[in-house]
């Protein structure tokens, strides 16, 4: 098959954009923590890049897109180390499928796995040792992310080749189930297993730097063009539609979040605008290729409003999802997945002449994703709790996890002196 250089250029660009989302997330999350925890928060994102970046080429691709084991996951050994012959031919040249070298898709897909794990870290900020986090990262991406990617995008259980497709063809354009519901459920389960931050609900834990949060949200939005635009697998009108829908839904979500804040709290806040950006991006992820730009407006508006209301749940229900991964990713991810039942064009959604089949199948894939992610995360989370233990010592948590876990402080506030002669 001949190389499509335009497509290849776009997919390499998209992969780079998606990779940028993770440092963007580090800034978004880092700004929201207290100043004594910002480096640890950022390190959880960079740690995810380190671990998943390596794991993906070893068995991640194989488990996601390799030879299927019962529609649940790919055989990790079939293409271990990208060696199965589907990526490099015997003469060492790159295999090209539909104009795109598969090795480019490996890079693109690896970045999705990285950001998905990094998303979870926001729920467990300020209190988790770095080593268990890295171990969790490797196991969770293996047992939850790769199988979910296989089930949805590689002809598995939740794809249009799975058993539910007889009702209607399930839609997850760029990762509503694989990325956001998966990460959101994992975040909730881990927050419950690991427990609250010391002083949660009593001590102030306000964001220490909202300019970092705004910068991070901006980088996430920019990177998301690769996420959704790249998921069109073409430098074409479908990618253009995904781009426009991504922007429109996100813009509307800012407004949705700010309206709720103005009514409820009296002020539209910068943290609200930045959070609205993420809620909109999350909600449009499963839908970007299958709705109209006008449909993207209510999708985003409702995503922003729902998430703004949902972030208060943790205080009502008493779990400490530090940076609202559940309120933003799980809630907006669910909404985006379900909204397709109403807004999918082409006589699929209810508003476009479709029946209830699309809505039903969207609800089913969301529910299955919740159960799988919940059970897998519960097992991994409890196993780590029983063996390594998750939490830092209480005094480390109070003094600051940056100092305790990394022997660093983010800002030069306290004067330091040289402890021994500098060589």
């Amino acid at each position: 098959m001949e190389l499509d250089s335009g497509l290849t250029a776009w997919m390499l660009t998209s992969a780079s954009l998606v990779l940028l989302m993770t440092p963007g997330l580090a800034l978004f999350y880092g700004g929201m923590t207290r100043s004594k925890s910002v480096l640890n928060m950022m390190m959880m994102s960079f740690g995810a890049m380190g671990v998943v970046g390596v794991v993906y080429v070893l068995w991640g691709w194989s488990m996601s897109y390799g030879e299927s084991v019962g529609g649940f996951f790919g055989n990790p050994f079939a293409e271990f180390g990208l060696s199965g012959g589907n990526i490099f031919a015997e003469d060492g040249s790159a295999v090209i499928v539909d104009g795109l070298p598969t090795i480019v898709d490996v890079g693109f897909q690896a970045t999705f796995a990285i950001i998905t794990v990094a998303l979870i870290s926001g729920a467990i900020a300020d209190r988790v040792r770095f080593a268990p986090w890295l171990v969790f990262t490797a196991i969770w991406v293996t047992l939850s992310y790769f199988p979910m990617a296989h089930m949805v995008w590689s002809g598995g259980l939740l794809s249009d080749e799975g058993p539910f497709a007889s009702i209607a063809s399930p839609i997850d354009f760029a990762g509503g189930t694989v990325v956001h519901i998966n990460a959101g459920v994992a975040a909730l389960v881990l927050a419950l297993i690991i427990g609250k931050r010391k002083g949660f609900g009593r001590e102030p834990m306000r964001p220490h730097n909202l300019t970092l949060v705004m910068l991070g949200a901006g980088l996430l939005w920019f990177g998301w063009f690769g996420f959704n635009g790249g998921s069109a697998y073409g430098a074409d009108g479908a990618a253009g539609l995904a781009w426009v829908n991504t922007t429109t839904a996100t813009a509307a979500a800012i407004l949705g979040w700010l309206v709720i804040e103005k009514i409820r709290d009296g002020h539209p806040t910068s943290l609200g605008a930045a959070s609205g950006v993420v809620a909109g991006l999350v909600a449009v992820t499963p839908a970007a290729g299958d709705i109209s730009p006008v449909g993207a407006i209510p999708l985003g508006l409702i995503a922003g409003a729902l998430s703004a209301l949902a972030v208060g749940l943790k205080y009502k229900l008493g779990y400490d999802d530090s940076l609202d991964v559940v309120g933003v990713h799980l809630v907006a991810g669910l909404w985006g997945t379900l909204a397709l039942g109403f807004l999918a064009t082409g006589e699929r959604g209810l508003f476009y002449g479709g029946g209830v089949g699309q809505l039903a199948v969207q609800a089913i894939i969301a529910l299955v994703a919740i159960v799988i992610s919940g059970v897998v995360t519960l097992v991994i989370g409890l196993a780590i709790k029983a063996t390594m233990g998750w939490r830092v010592a209480e005094e480390t948590e109070v003094a600051g996890i940056d100092l305790g876990e990394h022997s660093e402080s983010a800002y030069d506030i306290a004067p330091a002196r040289i402890a021994s002669e500098v060589k």
Binding site: P204, R206, P207, E261, R264, D265, G266, H267, T269, L271, G272, S275, A308, V311, G312, Y315, D324, G327
Partner: protein
């Protein structure tokens, strides 16, 4: 001699300085301060969760004057610092036993 100390809103500092200069005061010490009075600071809201910030930024102005000028200087500061809104601050006058100019060793009124 008296020490007049004023804790005022930071944005009124320029007016207070100008008013004191116009009243013939030739020196003052200004420092950043933080604190609260009856209004107890302000509240901030992050994703719907309310936080009270007790200590709000203020400016502290200190002026040493001769005894008979104490009340008048306090009045000048009050007039210049007043906005009529909560958080305008306080001014107080306390007696000072002695003052020494470091450069020359002069004492008392001569050191002012």
């Amino acid at each position: 001699m008296k020490l007049v100390t004023a804790v005022i809103q930071p944005h009124r500092l320029d007016d207070v300085k100008a008013a004191l200069e116009a009243a013939g005061i030739r020196g003052m010490t200004v420092s950043e301060a933080s604190g609260y009075g009856r209004q107890r600071g302000h509240t901030e809201v992050y994703r719907g969760a309310e936080y009270t910030v007790d200590l709000v930024p203020k400016v502290r102005v200190e002026v040493l004057v001769e005894s008979e000028a104490g009340t008048a200087v306090a009045d000048v500061i009050v007039q210049a610092a007043q906005t009529g809104k909560i958080g305008d601050g306080k001014v107080w006058v306390v007696p000072v036993e002695d003052v020494v100019r470091v450069r020359t060793g002069e004492r008392g009124a001569g050191a002012l």
